[in-house]
Amino acid sequence: MWWRRTLSRSCRCCLGCGRSGAKGIWSLRTRRVCSAPALPAGRITALQALDVWKRHFEEKGVTEPEHSSQYIIAHLLGAKTIESVEQQRLTQFLSKEKTEQVWQLCTRRLSRMPVQYVIEEWDFRDLTLKLRPPVFIPRPETEELVELVLTDLQRHPGAAETRRQTCLEVGCGSGAVSLSLLKSLPQLEAFALDRSQDAVDLSRENALRLGLQDRLKVYHMDVIKDTERMLGLFSSISALVSNPPYLFSEDMATLEPEILRFEDHAALDGGEDGLNVIRQILALAPDFLSDRGRVYLEVDPRHPPLVRRWTEDNVEGLRYAKTRHDASGRPRFCILQKEESHKDPDQD
């Protein structure tokens, strides 16, 4: 039944592959054939489509073959998970148009495009975010970063002067962290910045879609290059949050194709020891934070002791408070606190 169409159909996938621009290698190799299965001549059900594409992903070595076909097809049926689609609908025939959509999207996945980019959205805590390459896709660990910040901000709702709580996010990507905090804390005001214009645009778009644009200001800035501008803009911040690029440069080459080919490397590469951006954030933190304001960082599991030592040696006014582990048990989060300087003004 599937074999009636010509092979030329299978070349359609190349148009989908070269999407990611400068960050991916695909734009240089448009000749490559992704060999999607031909569109079925007759009608098929969603269940059958799931099976065809699961097997095809397996054949082509695409990771998470079953999950990939499930998420893509569920999305096209208007659902977030395949489990939430009525059994009845799964056994109904798909329309011709719907079948073509399935084929188009699944073919993109053949090029190892992450599912989140294929369906152009994903969920982060209780939000649904629009996603586009090469803007960094939020990871599950970062959901826990938000929980850590929330725990603290909810416990101390603000100074006696009822000054509004503010947070500053460095490297906001799609806006996941800031928007999640804003959603959970109706009184919060958020500032977010990213060195990528794509990320700034996407964060603003997500803020609008979620109705949070009034409390989020997004800046196109680089925490390393635009220090002066930043110092002029941000002060008395309650919480400085960041999921900065923290991978070690030497580990970049071993990343899976989903990441290497489609996500912004600048959002991942933290330099030789993965700490380039982190050091910059820590150095500037005391100037941005209010007294007893805190820094919350997501880091590589090797970083916490390095961060602690570097801060003790180099950042006056910032005290390493604690390390937190992620749900997999890996050291993942560093929390630091601005402490008032105890220097006696008569000395020196």
């Binding site: 998420y71 989140q116 599950p140 690029p245 599991p301 749900a327 997999s328 890996r330």
Partner: protein, 169 residues
Amino acid sequence: MSSLLPLTSRLLGVSRRLMWRAAPGVSPLLRLTPAAPSWVAAVGKKDLPGLPVLLEDELEEQFVRGSGPGGQATNKTSNCVVLKHIPTGIVVKCHQTRSVDVNRKRAREIMREKLDVAYKGELSELLVKKKESMLKKQEKRKRVNENLEKKRLFKKALAADTKPEDDTV
């Protein structure tokens, strides 16, 4: 199911002790011995028990993040959470949403409900047994009273036989 049996016998054992210790009229659930399972919440006198409290120390959690460093280095879409309650062996799987965080929270909610059923299941059994025991006692007391009444009437009848009949009763 087999994992519930040790729980059953433990709860029954505990509650039997409770029933005899508690003051009459007070629900045995109000007083918990140290041997009671740690996740059993204190309950109100007439209210149904609240959902059990979960202690993170008693839970084992698993989900797919790979054997590597995780975090930025990995992008996976599978987010099934598997939660195990160590003391009872009850396992909950949740992949209802696309967010790992939400799935973890829901898995815990489901776990509390399952523990509650396991606990209530034992509780209903205990209540049934308690009721049976009370009914038996009532029956016995009723029979005893009936016998006493019969004897009393019999004696009265005997006494009446030996006396001349009166018009007044």
